[in-house]
């Protein structure tokens, strides 16, 4: 391993070293001063963010083609690291308030983010699998972090069993593709299939198995059953992190692997499956969300629905619209990430001990008692629905445009109708917050309030000037 390779993945290497340091240093930090661990973690994330930004504009591969440093990886790593900072802000006071203030939260968070960053760099199927495990295993533990609360332990177990099950499928898929082409690097597989030495039957089996495995990770229907239970039981900051960063990591894997490998004939076989998955995910996510009474379950089903919208723009990836599919997915991930973290910040602020205060009815009166949180929640719910003047609107517009231009008008229609359905349950949250009397207590602490207001401001301001983000996502091109 020469120095050049190490420099290529410096942001990732620095983050892993930092995570190990956090794990060690935390041993000497007394239980009453765990905020120091949080600050060290935030510093490490900021350091890695700086190193990532220094990689901007690069386009090269390292480690013998196993790792690709390109605009795509840089943009996604910024998303992952920013999600990490948001997760630290959400947990800063929450962990103390819930009596689960342990330093491991921060170390596990860093390890999980390093797995996601590795996924963004991956240009070899071995690395894809390794990254998938590295991001998932710390998350299984994080989901159970509110132990000894039974719901949290149960959610952790469910997440673990289904996650391990899904990685079995990914692994079998990778093995089949290796068997078809004798290669694991994406460029080598493309070359082998192009020259006709590959075995098309094993290749298509591998493609299907990878689709199942990644479908579990992004919570696409019919592989979504775990999502509501896991999101409900996990500590709320972890849920917020999962709903944004893990979804982004799942789509990273889909974009990296599928746009490179499964084109031409394989795409012709795959797109009906993807079409069905996207349509079912949008329909099931939105319809099941209507009857939810718990805000965490509501947002869980909403995250399933948003995975459906993202899949909708992913369906035309094999046509000439590949660039648009990638750019619109990245744009929506940014819009959804900001909106989702903001909404989870409001939930964290109003949550009480022992998992109380999480029914939608518990939010009654919050809008008038806490005008800033209420205003922020209005912005988030409108952005989730896709109403103009919010970033969610531009994101959805871009997704719909990609689907329509790709010729999948039926799919766009399903998306449009389910968006209208979704307005019902998003607006219901606002109705309860403003129209019903109640005396909720917001005790999120300063960082959660800052996060909620800052993301709300970003959602509105970036919607007025979406140019810079459009510019960013259109430059986030994959090295191939």
């Amino acid at each position: 391993m020469n120095l050049e390779n190490l420099v290529a993945i410096l942001p990732l290497a620095a983050l892993i070293v930092w995570a190990v340091l956090v794990l060690l240093v935390d041993l000497w930090i007394p239980k009453s001063r765990k905020f120091i661990t949080a600050l060290i973690t935030a510093a490490g994330l900021a350091l890695s963010l700086g190193l990532t930004l220094a990689q901007n504009g690069q386009s090269r591969s390292a480690f013998g083609g196993m790792v690709a440093v390109d605009g795509f990886a840089v943009l996604l790593n910024v998303i992952f690291l920013a999600s990490g900072l948001a997760a630290v802000a959400l947990a800063y006071d929450y962990l103390k308030r819930m009596g689960i203030e342990r330093g491991e939260y921060y170390a596990l968070l860093l390890f999980s983010i390093s797995g996601m960053m590795l996924m963004a760099y991956a240009s070899d199927l071995i690395i894809v699998f390794l990254a998938l495990e590295l991001l998932s295993i710390p998350l299984y533990v994080l989901a159970g972090f509110a132990r000894p609360r039974s719901e949290s332990e149960e959610s952790s177990l469910k997440y673990f069993l289904l996650g391990a099950f899904a990685s079995g499928f990914v692994l079998y898929g990778v093995a089949m593709i290796f068997g078809a082409t004798a290669r694991t690097d994406l460029a080598g597989i493309v070359a082998a299939m192009g020259s006709g030495t590959g075995n098309p039957l094993l290749f298509i089996i591998g493609a299907g198995l990878l689709l199942v495995g990644f479908g579990f990770k992004v919570a696409a229907v019919p592989f979504h059953m775990w999502t509501p239970d896991v999101y409900q039981g996990a500590p709320t900051p972890v849920t917020g992190f999962m709903s944004v960063a893990v979804k982004a990591a799942g789509f990273t894997a889909l974009l990296r692997v599928f746009t490179a490998l499964f084109r031409g004939d394989v795409y012709a076989d795959l797109w009906p499956l993807l079409w069905g998955m996207a349509a079912l995910t949008m329909i099931a996510g939105n319809v099941l969300a209507i009857s939810q009474k718990n805000i965490k379950r509501l947002l869980a089903y909403s995250s399933i629905a948003h995975a459906g919208y993202l899949l909708m723009a992913f369906v035309p990836y094999g046509t000439r619209l590949q660039g648009d599919a990638v750019a619109s997915t990245l744009f929506y991930l940014i819009a959804y990430g900001l909106t989702s973290f903001g909404a989870w910040a409001v939930v964290v602020a109003l949550e009480k001990n022992e998992g109380m205060g999480l029914e939608i009815e518990d939010f009654a009166g919050a809008g008038r008692r806490y005008p800033w949180l209420g205003l922020a929640m209005i912005v988030f719910m409108l952005s989730f629905t896709g109403i103009p003047l919010t970033l969610g609107f531009w994101g959805k517009l871009y997704l719909f445009r990609t689907a329509v231009e790709g010729g999948y008008i039926g799919l766009a229609l399903v998306g449009l109708l389910t968006s209208i359905v979704s307005a019902y349950y998003y607006l219901r949250v606002l109705v309860v917050m403003y129209m019903k009397p109640g005396e909720p207590v917001a005790q999120g602490g300063p960082w959660v309030n800052i996060l909620a207001v800052a993301t709300a401001a970003a959602v509105v301001l970036l919607a007025l000037f979406p140019g810079p983000i459009l510019d960013l996502v259109s430059k986030a091109i994959m090295l191939q």
């Binding site: 299984y140 149960e154 673990f160 069993l161 079995g168 079998y172 093995a175 290796f178 004798a182």
Partner: protein, 105 residues
Amino acid sequence: MIPLPWLLVFAAALFCIGLFGVLARKNLVAILMGVELMLNAVNVNLIAFWRYFSAAGEDSTRAWTFVAVVLVAAAAEAAVGLALIISVYRRRKTVVADELNLMKG
């Protein structure tokens, strides 16, 4: 030399046994065993492919690398999984999946 398809069928059978175990068993430890069977079926696949490719004169050392990565990842997964199962067992005195149903809706 055993023909490649035999080995692939064997690995697929092993994978399906694991799959059945995950879907049909109620005991969490048994489900974990099913997952491990699925992962090891993949290892059998990889080694079978390696033998086939190296007999055909192709360089496929990456299969070995991959098997090593899979073994380590499976071990890490088993460690976390067993810890979670023990943690649940201590409080609830059960490892049966159907009895873990606090959340519904």
